[in-house]
Symmetry: none
Subunit: 199 residues, 4 copies
DNA sequence: TATGAATGAGCATTCATTCAT
DNA sequence: AATGAATGAATGCTCATTCAT
């Protein structure tokens, strides 16, 4: 009988093994040859598990996003103020060297989406946006429930996600210091949305 | 001196003559050959007046930005509410077909800045950001002076510019309807920043 | 013995089940994967019954040729004039949509024979040529026996087969209308080879 | 001032310099890199003078055809019998090693035309056919004028061209000996078309 | 007998920029 | 000042076939 391979697992294995070189070379400068060599398989094998190069990058970015999402969920449950939660929500992207490198790939992915976005990419971006909006909604809702925020704050989540995206862009295009910008913004915002009666 | 003026003029002439094909083809798909042909000069001549392809695109985008800036200044002086001013400030980018086409080029430029941004591009982007922040500051300041806005609003301009950039990205990456998003955001924001004592 | 018969049968089964997709995709665009899937077996199994891809195509084209040959034999026995027989002999290839599609495959096969012809292909082509020459010989012989043709006509068969091949090529390379060409040729030829004493 | 090059001449120069390697490697196995190297220019330069690879092959085959055509014209004017002229008309393709090699390329070109023929290729093939038919017409007409041929022979030219194409195919697909086939055919044909009253 | 996972060679084409004239 | 001929690096993807199980 022939060898039966767990396609999903192998797909994932290949993607995992290529994370580092993706982070190192970036999307555009990463070649299929490099991917195949790194994964320890032939070039043809890559195409047994992925549609095309873009498909591999997708798989890896999806993993990054999943990790990021998990971090965000952890924020929700921390025993800290809403203001702090929101600070983390934004700043976690810019925390360490690791996040920084992953963000570079995501930014490149975003740049591709901005000019050559395929239907899949847009759908992927929409799904991401919804996830993050949902998490932010939860943080805000908790804040309101805790009497930390005014009720009006709950309509801001979508715009805050847009702001977050703007941040990702501007850290590279205008050398913006993300944490500074986040701090200043939240400081200003919280004078407006903090509940009047102190908790 | 006369020669220098001529050089500046020719540079500008070349750039102007290529606006339409830039809008039509986009940055990446526009070739130096097309530019030279459209401008009615030889390819080599282009390099007498511009450093490189990027430099020409710069020149043209600068013109677009100047037009956009002028429109923004007009907003300041209109006799409308601050809320309306801010709505225009954001939505003017998405108004007509013309703006839409120019925005596409700007978005492409942004995508390039995000991944291959040269020093010049970053400086250019910083200069743009400052201009727009300044205008927004003025709108907010006027709003405060008119008693339409709470004083705390004046620290928001930087974040709002970031939001604006996020909008430009998201209209393409998540098929966001810009005007909807702007309306919803401003509605929520103004319940927070509007001066308590109604004007 | 039983097993051998089975082997032959399965070989034939696989070939038969792939006739349609061969007609649909053509030789070059038909993949072993498609063949295996259509035949309902694994890719490896294909190679249990066939030497290689070419071998399968052979098997199917052989079937087409057999059908064509049968049609040609029917012509011999029809109660029509020799001229009509010869017209059918040539034009039957171009009769209906079905023949047309099969001819496309045969033409593709011919094109491969012309540039990468293996020993097997050449042998196959020689065998075909002999069959068809034989049939044409019969038609001519009958014509002579019936006093429809001059005796000298009997040396033409080989050249007429060559003409037939040229027709197959030219219908595609110079958009030749096969039936027109056949009619005109036979008209001219028969003024030469028809027996002087009318039957 | 810039260098002005005679585009037509350079185009022709490049094509000429690549004749030998085309004959050596064949169409499919000839790479642009080889062409550029042989022509002593950069790969990009090739594309300044030719649309694509096919375009270069065209240019060279056109030259071959032109040479062949010239040879055919010479036949017309030779002081030999019509039968001999026709023999040469067909057999000249198979005369020497040189013709043989060129014919291989033409056959490959034909095979491509048969399966992937572009509009240009078909037009080219049609033009060739017309040229050759015209020459053959002339030979036949001269034969009739000389009382060597019956008048009816003049309708045969198109079919004879088709026969010639079939010959080109069959020399490779059924290992046909072209000169034998031609001799036998002409022998048979001339018993039919030769004028009754001997010249 | 049946299978299906793995393989890897091979190649046209574009275009920003230079620099000799 | 103006030109335009020349350049050359760089890369994704297909698919017939094999052979371990």
């Amino acid at each position: 009988m022939a060898i039966i391979v767990d396609k999903e697992k192998k797909r994932s294995d290949i993607a995992c093994s290529c994370m580092d070189i993706l982070l190192q070379y970036g999307i555009k400068n990463l070649t299929i040859s490099q991917i195949a060599k790194t994964a320890g398989v032939g070039k043809g094998t890559i195409y047994e598990y992925f549609e095309n190069k873009e498909d591999i990058v997708f798989e890896i970015i999806t993993m990054f996003i999943a990790v990021h999402e998990k971090k965000l969920f952890e924020i929700i449950n921390q025993n800290i103020s809403t203001k702090e939660k929101m600070f983390h929500f934004f700043s976690i992207l810019f925390d360490d060297e690791n996040s920084h490198t992953q963000l570079n790939i995501y930014r490149e992915f975003l740049a591709i989406s901005m000019t050559n976005g395929t239907r899949e990419m847009i759908d992927f971006n929409i799904a991401c946006r919804e996830k993050f909006t949902g998490i932010l909604d939860q943080i805000i809702k908790d804040g309101i429930d805790n009497n930390e925020l005014r009720e009006e704050a709950q309509d801001l989540s979508s715009a805050l996600i847009t702001f977050k995206l703007g941040l990702i862009v501007e850290t590279h295009t205008v050398s913006l210091d993300a944490k500074d910008e986040i701090s200043r913004f939240l400081e200003a915002l919280f004078t407006l949305i903090e509940s009047k009666e102190e908790k």
